[in-house]
Amino acid sequence: MSQSPIIETIHTLAEATLGQTVAIEQLSELLLTLTEELEANSFAALAFVAEAAAKNCLYCPGDDETKRTALFDLCERLLNAVISTEPFNFGGIHPDLQWMLVTPPDQVAATFNTEAAEVPEAAAKPAEVSGSEHADSNELMNCQCSDPELLDEFLTEADEHLDQAEQLILALETDPQDKEAINGVFRAVHSLKGSSGILGLTPLAKLSHVAESMLVRLRDGALALTPDVLAAVLASMDYLRRQIVSIRQTRQPSGALECLIAPLVLIEILETLTQKGTCDRNLFDHLRQEESGESVADVVVKTTSTAPKQESLRVDCKRLQQLIDLIGELVITESAVAQELAKQDSLTASSVSTRLRKVVRDVQQLSLGLKMVPVGAILQKMNRMVRDVSAQLGKPCRFVIEGADTEVDKTLLEGLADPLVHLIRNSLDHGIEPSVSDRIAAGKPETATIRVSAEHRAGSIVITISDDGRGLNRERIYSRAIEKGIIAANLKLTNADIDQLIFKPGFSTAATVSDISGRGVGMDVVRKNVENLRGTIAVHSNPGKGMDIVLELPLTLSIIDGTVTKVGDRSYIIPTLAVIEQIQASNMELITQGQRKLVRFRDSYIPLTRLSELLNIEPGHPPKHGEVCLVVQACQKQWAFLVDRVLGQQSIVIKPLGGVLDAFEHFAGGALLAGGEIGFVIELNTLFTNAMR
């Protein structure tokens, strides 16, 4: 740690401040250079002070003369600190210097705005002399504690991180070799550094940064975990906690000078430890002087009691699922009870039964709602991606979200993230015209639009991704498919068939593989992922105008209203929401077309088949009065099939069939029916997709 160059720099700076010829902006520049030198020589705390002064001195209220005096004062103190290796002495500093060191960024912004009007010359100069630095300050001004939501989130997370880090540090006291623990603390501090930086909480960010560097050395084994090191880390945690408490109360970082002293000492300690492995005991004494005398216990109590009334609660997912499963059992039991009560044929039995049913239904609704989260959460993240990718590709594009409040099961949402990202990237990469001029030539606005809309429709959630790009290039897809041997050379295909080709494995029309899309793994994986969530995906392309991709997914994964049917000895359950109509044999109007029979449904005729045929099992035992025809909606079409009997409708809890039977994709699961029998819940979309292939 050579000191002479630094001492020289400080001397130069001090002289500059005394002279009348050097502008404040240039002094600021010199200070920044000094900051770098201090950093490079492990004077982290001093670098922090110098940097703060460098950035804020331009906006400090008052005239140049006072500013110069303040900066001279700074130089003196820095010199003292460097030579004596004592911490930076704050005693009796120039008030302007104090302003420069502790003013939070938003106040700096406010000053700058008023100053700019009065001192146009000074305003012009910063743009020339220190253009980048100017931009830095703007960055700071933009991200600040003024956003209450952001601040709240930060405070909650910070508490959690600190709790976690503390636990791990205590574990390290007993087992200093625990690598996982060190890693855990590192991660917590790293997160704190990031989020406090974003919010402009510079002292916290700086402290976290220095702590993080030390933890890195600990983690890599370059530094031994001595009691001093542990004490330093714990002291840093304590300080951070106290800050969090204070910010929570005042809703902004403390502007007092005192609040700067403690972190600087801590930074000093951490830095020394990082470099030398030991540190001067005196430094710890300085720290103790600064502590307000609160014990850690007091701080913890303060933290919990000042925490705002929790509006939400973190609940273990497993527990929630157990609750939902049990409520499922409750629903089944209620059905059985209702049946028994119905047999009693008394008014009281009937009214009690109705009340019970209502309560159970309400509980069920509520429980299902527990796992529902608004779709908007995931869509907001796409916003950032669209911005970045469209900039990267040079294709200006705006992202519109509709129906962000539409709720969906949390597990479903997690499974949707990947497919959505891929589809949106596809739109950006392939769908939207390569250049703005192409769009203008086509009579479209310069900025492309990608719209994602979510809505509830008949028990499903429908998510549509539309763009106003070129749509699918059918010639290219067709020729590419022939090239790859996916289809025979002169096979005639309809437009819809060509569109479906994009779902074939290994398909892509992109000339080169970019990291965005075009690797050809895309659409078939997307479809698989969507089908795993028991959903469907459909593509509607309008060449030249754009493309719509429609995803349809079941709303609730576990409890549905089911129509219980029988084919032979087994029971099969059809989701009632999908059943459009039930036609008795006697009411069926049939026509024959070759070998096929079609049944009349409203104004059209639908091919009729048997459920046993669709499932590929032996035909059932049709009763004397004939089978029952069910008309259902699936894959955006209507289908009709026959079952032996329809037993009725009831609430069904879909239970997974288990990993051993996961090849049964056309069954959404099994359901416990009265009498202990297990019926199979039909997954209509898969059943008919398979039938179509």
Binding site: Y605, P607, G679
Partner: protein, 184 residues
């Protein structure tokens, strides 16, 4: 630690507890960590399109379990159901997923601690087509020879048999597809 104690500790360390069950006169063993419980009476609901050794599925405290008839599975003659069957509920973790199933056996004997030294892994025995039989080894103990069942292989075999059966019975459709016939 004196030599006797040392011997005792090392012996217990390499004694692996297995559940021993009987099937058609022979004894088999399965690692205790895969055994969840033993149940006696079931009434499985048959599964359409599953291999015939799959008896069906049952409900065990709210969970659906497939039941495998081990006699059928090992191609042994099937006995009349005399109400004395036992079913062992197996559970295993594989590929980050939990698999559970029940197997029907003639009788459950005991839990036996088999010393590792008595176990020969299946690669030593070239006579058995061990893949199909899902065995991972043979234990030669004082009370006789026991085949050790490999639960993971059992489950994998089961899954692939199910898949194959479903695929092979998928209809080859010479008739025009349903879609094409939809008149509007």
């Amino acid at each position: 630690m004196d030599t006797e104690q040392l011997h005792a500790t090392t012996s217990t360390a390499s004694m692996i507890p297995h559940l021993v069950f009987k099937l058609d006169g022979s004894e088999y063993a399965i690692h205790v960590k895969h055994v969840r419980e033993i149940i006696t009476s079931v009434n499985p609901s048959t599964v359409p399109g599953a291999p015939d050794y799959l008896m069906g599925v049952i409900n065990l405290r709210g969970k659906i379990l497939p039941m495998v008839d081990m006699r059928k599975r090992f191609d042994l003659p099937v006995l009349e159901d005399d109400g004395r069957d036992c079913f062992i509920v197996l559970t295993l973790e594989h590929d980050n997923q939990c698999y559970e199933l029940g197997i029907r056996v003639d009788a459950v004997c005991e839990v036996q601690r088999i010393p590792e030294s008595c176990i020969d892994s299946i690669s030593d025995l070239s006579n058995y087509s061990s893949q199909r039989l899902s065995f991972q080894g043979v234990a030669k103990t004082a009370s006789g020879i026991k085949m050790i069942v490999d639960s993971t292989q059992l489950v994998e075999q089961l899954r692939s048999d199910v898949r194959l059966k479903l695929q092979s019975s998928a209809p080859s459709n010479p008739q025009p597809s349903i879609e094409e016939l939809c008149l509007s």
